[in-house]
Structure formats: structure tokens, C-alpha cells
């Protein structure tokens, strides 16, 4: 009897074929051509003021890429910068695991994260690689075939037999059946990248308005001219809505139907372990896991059993469930102490693909949300693309045909009503 399928972070669909893989490879070429050097050599020509609604990692990245393009930026955040999900996630910057459609964007994101690091926007980014573990022969078979698709899509992955995996993860349980390894995947520390982006934005003269709630918009025809907040009006030549799961609420103020739904995702953190006992980012057995730069072991994993709400309290049941999944993989650490449990709110969409592009019916309003639990890894690419969408909306730049084709399925208002269905996906 094969173990229940716990490859919750493998999103590539089983019936994807070689043509989809080749399309993904081509898509990455288009994205790389247009945005491959968006940090080092950004497209200029942006003028006027962009108001970013939402101070999470996507908001900060979008603000930064927009300022690189020359826009003046004001960012409005209801509470604290990266105070919500952006500060409560696994810290993974991963390509391995995504659908073939999202893979090119995440390969671009990895590249831009590295460029940010190289240009001094530090986030404790380390390219540790990522291993997705199999705990049954059935899962090993699934991962091996996914590996072939990923290679055909241009992602450098390799299948590791159990003893090879053990060399990478010496404390791993004997019940593992090998794993898919992606050496170029990375991990980073959310609060550090947020601090670096804030500093750069302040140097560039951006206004970072925290503890400021958006109450409405001033509009003129199909354009927004100002964002109304509790602390007064913020004039805008363009607006970007990127408030994670709260984007639906903000969008409604403009009559937009943005199909983003909240779901809780709980995380556990242990005391610091002095030695580097787990180097790569690890996924599998229904959880994601890493050892942070400070030595804590951080792991978590959501799913359909979680609460579809903005509630971020931890539950003893989830703490036990996640700890058990972790100990099944790493029984050697049963003596290490859990010191903290917390939770983020994942922004799910019906098809688990982001809402990224110009908002239908509005000339100068764009959206970047719905990253379905992968916003942290996505954020560099999302920031570059969101800034580009703003430039396209204001006519300061034209998208290449390839990029236009890739963004078309991400149109923010593509979902008419919000079906009760769920987008699946756990945060990583």
C-alpha cells in the first residue's frame, strides 16, 4: 500500500508532457531577455509617482524595482512592513516544485535575488540547493519523472539515490527513498531583505507610510488620482495593489473582483543548533524545512485542513502534526526544543497562479498578489514584473510579445466570481 502522497510542494501536474516543458524553457528565455538584468541595468524612463498599497515583500520589491526605473514611490502599509505573511514563511527562494507555467518566473526570481545580493541589497541569501525527499517508492517514481520534465524545461535538477541524499543530509531517517536535488535553489532571511530594501528605498527618497490604512481612492474616469488614507491623501500617477490576501478588500474599493482568499499556514522554530546540521532547503513528507543563518531549525506546512481565514493563532494540533512530520524525516532531533510557533496567511487563488498585471477597467491600476504561499520566493520577479506593468500601463514602456503572452494568463480579474474551491499549495 503506497504511503499517502505527501509531496505537497510538488505542483507540476502529472500529465504535463515534454511540449509543456519545452514551452517553459522558451518562456524563461523571454523573461530573461526582458528582465534578466532588471537590477543591474534597469529600463529607465519611468516618471511620476507610484503608490504601492501593501508593505509585504512583494510591495517592497515592486517599490524598489519601480524606483530603479525612475518612478517616485510612496508605499502605504496598514500595519508593519513584512509584518504579515512576508515575515512568516519558510524563506525559500525555490524553482524546484513549481508548475511548469510558474517555473520560468521563479527561475527569473532566483536570478534577480542573486543580482540584488550582488548589488548590496542583502537578505542572508545563500545558495544551499534544495532537496525534495521521497518517503515511498511511489513518491520516488513521481519525483524521478518530474525531474525529467524539469530538466527538459531547463532547470538543473538531478535524482539522488538514498545514500547520495544521506551524504547531503546525514541526520535523515532510514525510511527515505532518495530525492530530487536542485543545486541552484536558495534560501534567505525575510527580515534582513526587508531591512535592506527599506534602507535603499529611503535613500531613493521613497515615502514608507506604515501604520496607515487605505480608506479609499480618488478617481477621475478610468484613472486613480490619489490614495485616501487615515493620514490624508497620497497623490498617485499609478497605483499597485499588492496586499497579499487583503488585496481583495482593497480592490473592492475600486469595484474590482480580485479572487484572493486567505488560508493560515503554521510554522515551528527550534532553539539554535550550533552545528550546520541541515544545509540544503528540504521539502517532502508534507513539510518544508531549513536551518536558518542563525542556526534555528524552521519548518512548517499547510494544506486543505487549515483555516481559510486571517486567523494567525497557532494550534497545538498543528504543532503536533508538523513536529511529527519533521521527526519522521529527522528522528535524530527529538531532543531539540521547539521555542516558537507562529503562522502566516497565504493568499490563494482558484488556479493557484498569481494575479499579476493591469486591473481591468482602470488605466493606471496594477495588481501583484495571489502567490498562493510562494510569495517570498516569487517576490524579486514579481517586483520587476509589477514595475514593468506600471510602465506599460503609463505607456513608458512596451512589453515584448513573449512577456505579453506570459502575463496574459495572469490577468488579475480573470476569475469572475470567487468559487468555494481551493487553490491548494503550502507555503514554502
Amino acid at each position: 500500500m503506497s504511503q499517502p502522497r505527501r509531496l505537497t510542494l510538488l505542483k507540476v501536474s502529472p500529465d504535463a508532457g515534454p511540449e509543456a516543458a519545452r514551452a517553459a524553457a522558451a518562456a524563461y528565455q523571454d523573461l530573461e531577455a526582458a528582465f534578466g538584468d532588471a537590477v543591474a541595468r534597469p529600463a529607465r524612463g519611468g516618471e511620476g509617482r507610484l503608490v504601492v498599497v501593501g508593505g509585504g515583500i512583494v510591495g517592497l520589491m515592486s517599490a524598489y524595482f519601480a524606483s530603479l526605473r525612475g518612478y517616485r514611490v510612496a508605499l502605504v502599509e496598514r500595519l508593519s512592513l513584512v509584518g504579515a505573511a512576508s515575515g512568516r514563511n519558510g524563506g525559500g527562494v525555490l524553482a524546484l516544485g513549481h508548475t511548469l507555467e510558474d517555473l520560468p518566473f521563479n527561475r527569473l526570481s532566483l536570478r534577480l535575488w542573486r543580482q540584488l545580493d550582488e548589488t548590496g541589497v542583502r537578505g542572508e541569501l545563500v545558495r544551499t540547493g534544495h532537496v525534495m525527499l521521497a518517503f515511498s517508492e511511489d513518491e520516488a517514481e513521481t519525483l524521478r519523472s518530474a525531474g525529467e520534465l524539469y530538466r527538459a524545461a531547463g532547470l538543473g535538477v538531478e535524482w539522488l539515490a538514498p545514500d547520495e541524499v544521506r551524504r547531503l543530509l546525514p541526520h535523515l531517517a532510514g525510511t527515505q527513498h532518495g530525492g530530487l536535488h536542485c543545486p541552484e535553489d536558495a534560501q534567505a532571511y525575510p527580515f534582513r531583505i526587508a531591512a535592506s530594501l527599506q534602507a535603499r528605498l529611503r535613500d531613493a527618497g521613497a515615502e514608507l507610510l506604515t501604520h496607515t490604512a487605505v480608506t479609499g481612492f480618488r478617481t477621475d474616469g478610468d484613472s486613480v488620482t490619489a490614495v485616501l488614507t487615515a493620514a490624508g491623501e497620497v497623490a498617485a500617477d499609478a497605483v499597485l495593489l499588492c496586499a497579499g490576501p487583503w488585496t481583495a478588500g482593497v480592490g473592492a474599493l475600486l469595484g474590482l473582483q480580485l479572487a484572493v482568499r486567505p488560508r493560515r499556514s503554521q510554522i515551528l522554530v527550534t532553539e539554535r543548533v550550533r552545528e550546520r546540521v541541515i544545509d540544503p532547503f528540504v521539502t517532502g513528507n508534507a513539510i518544508y524545512l531549513r536551518q536558518t543563518h542563525e542556526g534555528n531549525l524552521l519548518f512548517g506546512g499547510g494544506g486543505k485542513w487549515e483555516s481559510y481565514s486571517f486567523d494567525t493563532s497557532s494550534t497545538a494540533a498543528a504543532v503536533r502534526r508538523i513536529a511529527t512530520r519533521f521527526l519522521e524525516a529527522f528522528p535524530a532531533f527529538r531532543g531539540v526544543q521547539l521555542i516558537r510557533a507562529f503562522a502566516g496567511t497565504v493568499d490563494l487563488t482558484p488556479d493557484s497562479r498569481p494575479l499579476l498585471g493591469r486591473a481591468e477597467g482602470w488605466r493606471n491600476v496594477c495588481v501583484a498578489s495571489g502567490f498562493s504561499g510562494h510569495g517570498f520566493g516569487w517576490s524579486a520577479a514579481a517586483g520587476a514584473l509589477a514595475a514593468a506593468c506600471v510602465a506599460h500601463a503609463l505607456g513608458h514602456d512596451e512589453p515584448t510579445p513573449g512577456v505579453a503572452r506570459l502575463l496574459e494568463p495572469l490577468a488579475p480579474c480573470r476569475h469572475a466570481a470567487l468559487p468555494a474551491g481551493d487553490g491548494g499549495g503550502a507555503t514554502a
Binding site: 494550534t315 497545538a316 504543532v319 527529538r334 531532543g335
Partner: protein, 410 residues
């Protein structure tokens, strides 16, 4: 594991409540993170004005025996890490042994988690050898190992003076009791005037008539002003231990452990005179920053809390029968305000009765009223008033409870 009542914390309040509940026939589980029961009682040793010595460990043994004989189940090394509605108490074995119950389900829960010491920060305070006066008391009186051969105590309050005396009784050389480091991070603790005001609460405990008079007299603002200016060379002797109420601890230094500490006289404005600083050879520095209630469990449940400095910090709001703002959750002991062991036991008795009544175990109004009166009496007669104004603080909180209860009823 299903029980009628869970008591979190096996100190004076918890054990007394457990005995009360068990006597009424309730199936009670007492969970304490330490291997033994009694909480802070275990290390307590102080002399009351009539010359009788309060030996906390003897009181603890009595309370433990009483709870066990009444039928309460006591479990040590049991660290409660979560309390969730339905009242589910999640507990872990501190020695990570498998096979013990990990969840207790109960209709009523008593949070009797006591208090912990507030920090006193100064350069060198993370060195081994720097510890709280509570740690020094437990090490000396419970584990029977002196924290050091030559000890400096910083923070002048009833607990610090009591522990300084215990250290001397146990054979340590106490270099003196000094003001805590006057740093912004430590707040008013280092302020000469507020220290002297707190000292006056010692009047009832001062050993000699002169000191009782002096301590009592400090209540008046004038004497406090005068005392703030007068430094007594060699310190004022209290129980044979020199107290330097005008000299403050500044720093501790040493290679991998405390080797000496710097002290300096402090002006009436509370600022140390650096050029007059001197070194004191000590191998331990014991800090007294005051106690703060440990109200994490009620906080995680969303119980209403009130910040009340006269009780040591944030305390859970509770009704006259110690029920918190979540029905079925009760609070007793120092978690409701730092008032010492006798008041904690009186609170435990009242909570035990209130919980028994809620379980339908036939508690009369007269018994409850007697327990409430008992608590009032214990407060009036409490020998050590850790924080002046505790009784007024409780009166204010009771008024706030009535307002919130009334608001909720509307």
C-alpha cells in the same frame, strides 16, 4: 486524559486549591515543571518580627502531603506549553520521556504559574556568576550550594535583604547590598528615593527596634529626603549585612566568570559619580529587580489582562472568586499579583472552593464568603509587602472587573 480539574503550577496557591478540590471529591491533576512541589516556598527562609522562622520547605511538605492525602494527582517535570478552549492543557515531560499523558481535558483549570524576576541589566550581566536573588536563594537553601564565596547583592528591597541574610547564614561573605545600576533600561529601580520608599515597607520585618523605627519613619517624605542625602560609611547594618543605600553597582568583569564588580556612590539625583568608583572582589553578583506575574497562558487564551505596577506587571483581570474573563479558567497566587506565600495560599483556597462549586460539588455561600474574608485578612497581615499599594491595586482591578462584566452583560 480527562479529569475534573487541572491545576497548572504546584506552588502554595496550586497545592492549596488542589487539596480543596480533591477534598470535595474532584479528580484533580496538578502539573509542575519542577521535579518537586512547593514553588518558591522551597527556598524561603525568613524571620518574622516575633522571632519565629518561616521555613518554606516545611510549609511546602505540609501542603503537598495535604493535597496527596486528599487524592490529588501530582505530576512533576510537567511543563505546560499550551492551554486551549474546551480546556485542553498541553504538557511536555521536561526529561523528554515518552509514554506520559500529553493532553489533559478538564472542565475547570487553575493557572497558578506564579511570578518570575524582572531583569536588571548592566555591563557584564551575562557573565556566569551573575544571577537573580531567586536563583541564589534556591541554590543555597534547596540545592545547598552557595552561589559564591564572596557575593554582592544589587537591588535594595525586602527580597534582596532576605536573601543577603540567607547567604550570610549559609556561610557566604556578603560584600554588601547595593543600589541596582542606575541605567535607563532599569527604570526607577536605581532611583535612591523610590528605593527608600520601598524600604519603608520593611518596617514590619526590621529586626531591631531602631531599624523598625527608621524603616517606618522613611514613610514620611521629609525623612526620605534626608536619608537620600546621607551615606553611611561601611553601610547600614541590616541583619549583620551592610546596606549601601547611596552606592550603586556599575559593572561586573571577569574572564568567563565574575571576578570583581565596580560600585560607585550615587548623587541624590541618582547619577553615579564615576571617578569615585571602586572594585569589590566578588565571585557572584545577585540581582533583585522585583517580581512580575507569569501571565502567558491567560494571555494566549485571550483573557483580559491589566497592567498594574503595584502588583508587579500585567495581571489577568478576575472576579471576586478569582475566575478569569474566560469561564472555567481561574487564576491564583503570584500570577494575580506578587503578594507572597500566605496570600497565595488564601487565593488558592478561594479558587479551589469556587472551582468546586462550578463542578457542582456542594460549596455553600458561607464557605465562599469565609474564603474571601480569609484572603482579605491574609492581605492585611502579610509580613512582606513586595509592592506598596497591593491592596489598593486589587480594589481598582475589582472595580474594572465589575465594569467589564457589566458592559458584557449589556
Amino acid at each position: 486524559m480527562r479529569v475534573d480539574a487541572v491545576v497548572i503550577g504546584g506552588g502554595p496557591a496550586g497545592l492549596t486549591a488542589a487539596a480543596e478540590l480533591a477534598r470535595r471529591g474532584a479528580n484533580v491533576a496538578v502539573l509542575d515543571e519542577n521535579p518537586v512541589f512547593g514553588g518558591k516556598l522551597l527556598g524561603q527562609l525568613h524571620e518574622s518580627p516575633d522571632g519565629h522562622w518561616w521555613k518554606g520547605w516545611e510549609v511546602a511538605e505540609g501542603l503537598e502531603r495535604e493535597a496527596r492525602e486528599a487524592g490529588a494527582a501530582l505530576r512533576g517535570n510537567a511543563s505546560v506549553w499550551a492551554l486551549e478552549p474546551g480546556w485542553r492543557v498541553h504538557v511536555a515531560d521536561a526529561l523528554n520521556r515518552p509514554g506520559q499523558p500529553v493532553v489533559y481535558q478538564a472542565e475547570v483549570v487553575l493557572v497558578a504559574t506564579g511570578a518570575c524576576e524582572k531583569p536588571v541589566a548592566f555591563p557584564g550581566w551575562t557573565l556566569p556568576g551573575v544571577m537573580t536573588v531567586g536563583a541564589a536563594q534556591v541554590s543555597t537553601n534547596v540545592h545547598r550550594v552557595l552561589p559564591g564565596g564572596r557575593v554582592l547583592v544589587a537591588g535594595i528591597d525586602p527580597l534582596a535583604l532576605t536573601v543577603a541574610r540567607q547567604l550570610a547564614l549559609a556561610g557566604a561573605r556578603v560584600a554588601g547590598v547595593f543600589l541596582p545600576p542606575p541605567l535607563p533600561a532599569n527604570g526607577a529601580a536605581g532611583d535612591v528615593r523610590s528605593t527608600l520608599a520601598r524600604l519603608s515597607s520593611l518596617a514590619r520585618l526590621a529586626p531591631t527596634p531602631w531599624l523598625r523605627l527608621a524603616a517606618g519613619a522613611l514613610n514620611s517624605g521629609l525623612v526620605r529626603e534626608l536619608a537620600a542625602r546621607v551615606d553611611v560609611p561601611g553601610g547600614v547594618r541590616v541583619w549583620g549585612v551592610p546596606v549601601f543605600h547611596r552606592t550603586a553597582l556599575i559593572e561586573a568583569v571577569g574572564d568567563g566568570r565574575v571576578e570583581r564588580a565596580a560600585v560607585a556612590p550615587v548623587g541624590p539625583d541618582g547619577e553615579p559619580v564615576a571617578r569615585l568608583a571602586r572594585w569589590v572582589e566578588v565571585d557572584a553578583v545577585c540581582l533583585s529587580g522585583g517580581l512580575a506575574p507569569l501571565a502567558e497562558l491567560p494571555a494566549t487564551l485571550g483573557c483580559a489582562l491589566a497592567s498594574e505596577e503595584r502588583l508587579g506587571g500585567e495581571v489577568p483581570l478576575h472576579g471576586p472568586e478569582l475566575e478569569a474573563s474566560r469561564p472555567g479558567v481561574y487564576v491564583a497566587g503570584d500570577v494575580t499579583g506578587v503578594e507572597g506565600a500566605e496570600v497565595a495560599m488564601a487565593k488558592g483556597r478561594l479558587a479551589g472552593l469556587a472551582m468546586s462549586r462550578r463542578l457542582g460539588l456542594g460549596v455553600t455561600d458561607a464557605e465562599l464568603r469565609a474564603a474571601r474574608d480569609g484572603l482579605e485578612r491574609a492581605r492585611r497581615e502579610a509580613k512582606i509587602e513586595f509592592y506598596p499599594g497591593a491592596r489598593e491595586a486589587h480594589a481598582d482591578l475589582a472595580a474594572r472587573w465589575r465594569q467589564t462584566a457589566a458592559a458584557a452583560a449589556r
